[in-house]
Every structure is written in C-alpha cells, then in structure tokens.
Symmetry: C2
Subunit: 196 residues, 2 copies
C-alpha cells in the first residue's frame, strides 16, 4: 500500500463504510455536527466559494413535512433516522465571496455576475462539499444515508427558497440492524483511468 | 472533539492540507494512483453509478497539448506539476449500471434512458467522486491543485469525446516552495447550518 493514511482511518472513511438504511435510536448531537463541519469546511472549492448550505431537520413537525416529499423507498428510512439533513446549493454564494476570498474580492463581479454561471458553479462545488461532508460524518463515527430520490421542487418550496437548490438529503446516525446491502462492485482502475 | 478519526488523519486530509500551486520534482507513480483509486472507489454515488473518468497526462507531448488550454494563471502550474489528471463525467455511465448495480439492473432503463437526465446525474455524482479523489490524493501523502479555469470545450475536443464532459483538472505531487497561500476564511457553522 502506497498510502500515508493509516489503515484504520482508511477503513473508517472508505473501506468499511457503507451507505446505511437503518439506524439505532442514538441521537446525533449538535456538538457532533459542529465537529464535522469544523473539519470538512477546509475542503477545497473553486475560489473558496463554499456554496453548500445545510438544513438540519430536528423537530417532529419538520420531519412530518419532509417524509411525504421523499420517494416511497426513502420514506421509511427518512422517518426513522436519528437526524436528517437537507444539503442545498446557495446560488447567491457570490455575496459572501469578498469575505471568503480576501486575496481577490473582485471575483464576485469578475466571474459570478450572472445567475446561470453561479448556478452551475454552485451545483458542482456544493457537490464537492457534500462529499467532504459524507466523509466527515464517517470521521465522526457515524454513518450517512445520502438520497437523491425526493421531490426536489417540493423540498425547495417547503424548506428552502428560490436561491437555494436542493442537492441531496442525508440520513445520519449509528448503523442499526441489517444496515447495509452487500457491497456492490466497483469499476477496475483500467476502466476508469486512461493515460496519455 | 467529537470525532472518531484520529487527529493526525484529520490534519492530513483537511486541517493541514492545502490546494498547492508549486511542486517538487518527485514523480507520482502508477502504484500511488492505483492505491488512491482502490481507496476512493468505495465512496458512495447514486445507484452506484460512479461516473467519474480520469485521464492521466503523463507524456510530454500530451502536456504540451494541455497547457495552452489552461487559463493564464493555471498554465505555469500545469506545465510544472509532476502529474496532471483530467477529471471527467461519463454521460453514458448507464451502460455499466447492470454490472455496478446487480440488485437493480433495470435502473439503467428505469431512470437513465434520457441523455439530459444522465448529464445532470453524471455531473453531480462525478463531482462527489472528484472530492473523494482529492481526499484520496491527500491520503497518499500528496497534494492536489484542482482547477476549473481552462477551456472546457477545448479539453473535451482534445482529450475526451462527446460522451465525456470535463469537470476539473488536478495537479498532483509533493508540495514545493511557497506552495500555498495563507488559509482563506471559512463560513461559521451558523452561517451554513440552520435547524428546523
């Protein structure tokens, strides 16, 4: 193995980690979410735009509004997870850029004056941050159940606004009984990587 | 700290890791790239679609074709990096789905029969995988310099085809002199996370 990361960390983050569909009742605390954020906030994005925004669905009332918007297969998982997080892209992220990119405050107007450009950039960069966040959930000793099967327009209307596009919804908690399916196959290196 | 991941691994992957702009001459080997891929291939994507494809630019001839397609600020970095990787989304990823998702081989036709749907899905999921890959580069004790500033249509024409959309280009190697700028600020937890 040519990796500097120790094998236990490799297992925790990737090799032994799984997308889970059942959870124990153990709650996910605000302190855990803070610790995850304080780690993964350092992951790189273009011009440090960091467009990911997160809505934590903690109240029973909010959970009741969310579950009907999930696909049928995702309803019971979302109803039962200790914590559910809505990941969204902030299409107006450029408003924060002067603060986030003090080396080039003009980037806000140089690159991001047009909304369609911002939407494309926020879509890609919030997906990068979603992946860092999934890694961070695992770094906290928790498991993630990311889902894209939901009524995106409905979730945007019910929990977000016109400036925030939902990206995925993630169940978070400790794995429960029969929490994951057998690992699905992955493509071989040579099927993914070519050299020129 | 509420994290299970040990602090050295937190530093390696996030806290002490930086986007780099200079590198030493030490080469990045095929074995290192294999080890990175064999770790990050396990990162989750929707329906295990794993649409990321990677072109490693190793020959001087290919490097000479790539550098002029980079933005001016990225040309010298891309010319000097030990290894340059083009990350792309495979918009025809559904062809591999029956192999990748044996639990639901019908997903290929149920969800992904239309090209625009595939392009959106490949864009988001290849970005997730790009983030896992950046984490993996750091796990290998290397540094990444991801860039979106390049002629996307030109790179697609020169190195890819109509079915593969370039996502980012990543310089890879050991950090050199003055390799990074001071860390830019990050948003506070309360600016990113709301609770309902």
């Amino acid at each position: 193995m040519s990796l500097a990361l120790d094998p236990a960390a490799q297992d925790l983050l990737f090799r032994e980690a799984h997308t889970v569909r059942t959870f124990t009742d153990e709650p996910v605390t605000e302190e855990q979410m803070q610790a995850i954020y304080d780690l993964v906030k350092f992951g790189p994005t273009a011009y440090n735009q960091t467009p990911l925004r997160v809505v934590l669905v903690r109240s029973p009332e909010a959970r009741e509004r969310l579950v009907p918007l999930m696909s049928d297969a995702n309803k019971p998982k979302t109803a039962a997870a200790p914590l559910v997080a809505i990941f969204a892209a902030d299409n107006e992220f450029h408003e924060e850029l002067p603060q986030l990119l003090p080396a080039l405050p003009a980037a806000k107007d140089m690159f991001y004056s047009e909304r369609p450009v911002r939407e494309r950039s926020a879509g890609m960069n919030s997906a990068l941050q979603a992946a860092y966040f999934i890694v961070g959930i695992r770094a906290a000793g928790l498991a993630a159940g990311p889902m894209t099967g939901f009524d995106h327009a409905g979730v945007q209307k019910e929990f977000l606004d016109d400036d925030h596009t939902p990206l995925m919804i993630v169940n978070i908690g400790k794995p429960g009984d029969d929490a994951w399916r057998p690992r699905a196959p992955r493509l071989a290196f040579d099927e993914v990587v070519t050299t020129v």
